[in-house]
């Protein structure tokens, strides 16, 4: 019985850890929105904007990936 409760708590904890991906999603959406608007107004700046957009996406994605790593640690290591 206690083992089952611990197992259930582990799974719920891994799920809760992924709530942090919300922030990463908002950040990626905002940075892509800005880059798309810039590209639409000034198509010549496409290549510059695209590289910087990828960098911004990678930075905000990293936050969500930390949550994912924590969830994986809870699921597969602990």
């Amino acid at each position: 019985m206690t083992g089952d409760i611990v197992e259930a708590a582990r799974l719920i904890g891994a799920g809760i850890a992924m709530i942090g991906a919300l922030g990463g999603g908002i950040g990626i959406g905002l940075s892509i929105q800005g880059a798309m608007q810039g590209m639409a107004r000034n198509p010549d700046a496409y290549s510059n904007l695209f590289v910087n957009m990828l960098l911004g996406v990678a930075f905000s994605e990293a936050i969500a990936i930390y949550c994912l790593v924590i969830a994986f640690v809870i699921l597969f290591v602990v």
Binding site: N48, V51, I65, F76
Partner: protein, 335 residues
């Protein structure tokens, strides 16, 4: 005319091979129902301790090390293919070396836009890291990489079914009262091992500091311990000093963020591929594989791109940044 016929014939031939493979997959999946394999975050030891150092401990031959050797062999092969093209002086055609040359040209143009006059110093780091991570990520997608290995008894594994006695077995659905085994694969993609990603990010971050120190001298350290305005402007000088300390902390955060971004993405891809093999219908896994092909490319590009951007930031001194007008990339209008 003859060439076109040959091309069409080959196209049709490959189509039939694909159809045969699809039917074979369906038959195999009904003969041996797929089960979810053990997923471990740490790489497993394939062979016993090779040697041991006094403080650090024993060194094992892990399966991600074997994967890393394979990655290195692939990259050496690519380098030899490029060398063959360059030595013969021919136009790179539809060969693998031509593809590598095209990739490197794209990367070089990207570097020129950011690094300016330091392009030739920064580009080798960028290209090396990108190619290594790209091959290491895509090693994950080859069938058999994480599913062929040794079966060892374990408490949390699955039951096994013998196909050829003593040679070939596979794990199947669990039944009562049988011995349980789990699989230690021979090869594992290096990017799914935290040791590889931390080592690579240490190389990248230490390389960034070394290039900064080499080309800006001791004035590079002013970025981290900014005491130049501490006494001349008392209020703002303290602020400058605190900001530079924050800069120092962010260098350490770079190591963690580099390592966990790559590890998290590729490990998540590995778990997704393993799970989709048991969850989705037979052909559904192909979509996941395509997605992971894309993710591996993006992650390799991001790792290399961030290294390149940080490195060119470290090498450009502040005096140059104040007169940037003639160094800004001028957008080229084509057509």
């Amino acid at each position: 005319m003859k060439k076109i016929e040959k091309h069409q014939q080959r196209h049709g031939f490959f189509r039939w091979i694909a159809l045969a493979l699809l039917i074979l997959t369906g038959l195999a999946a009904s003969f041996i129902p797929p089960v979810q394999p053990d997923i471990e975050a740490a790489s497993a030891e394939v062979a016993g301790p090779l040697f041991s150092l006094p403080v650090i401990g024993d060194f094992y031959l892990t399966n991600s090390l074997i994967g890393l050797v394979l990655v290195d062999l692939v990259i050496i092969g690519l380098a030899l293919a490029v060398r063959k093209i360059l030595k013969s002086g021919s136009i790179p055609g539809k060969s693998i070396g031509g593809v590598v040359i095209a990739i490197l040209e794209v990367l070089f143009e990207l570097t020129e836009k950011t690094a300016g006059k330091w392009t030739k110093k920064v580009f080798p780091w960028f290209a090396t890291i990108t190619l290594t991570v790209l091959v290491a990520n895509w090693l994950d997608l080859i069938p058999g990489v994480e599913s062929v290995g040794l079966l060892v008894p374990s408490a949390t594994g699955s039951a096994i079914k013998t196909l050829i006695p003593g040679v070939l077995s596979t794990i199947t659905r669990q039944t009562e009262g049988t011995k349980l085994y789990s699989l230690i694969s021979f090869v594992r993609a290096p990017s799914t091992d935290l040791n590889f990603t931390i080592a690579l990010s240490l190389i990248a971050v230490i390389g960034i500091q070394a290039m900064g120190l080499r080309y800006r001298g001791l004035s590079y350290l002013r970025r981290f311990f900014n005491v130049s305005t501490l006494f001349s402007k008392p209020g703002l000088g303290v602020m400058d000093f605190l900001v530079s300390i924050l800069e120092l902390i962010s260098e350490f955060a770079k190591i963690v963020s580099f390592a966990f971004r790559l590890f998290g993405n590729v490990f998540a891809g590995m778990v997704l591929i393993a799970l989709s093999g048991t969850l989705l219908p037979v052909f559904g896994q192909s979509g996941v594989l395509l997605f992971e092909l894309f993710m591996g490319l993006i992650q390799a590009l991001v790792f290399g791109l961030l290294t390149m951007v940080f490195m060119s930031q470290a090498m450009h001194s502040e005096e140059q940044e104040e007169t940037p007008k003639d160094e800004l990339p001028i957008p080229v209008v084509e057509g």
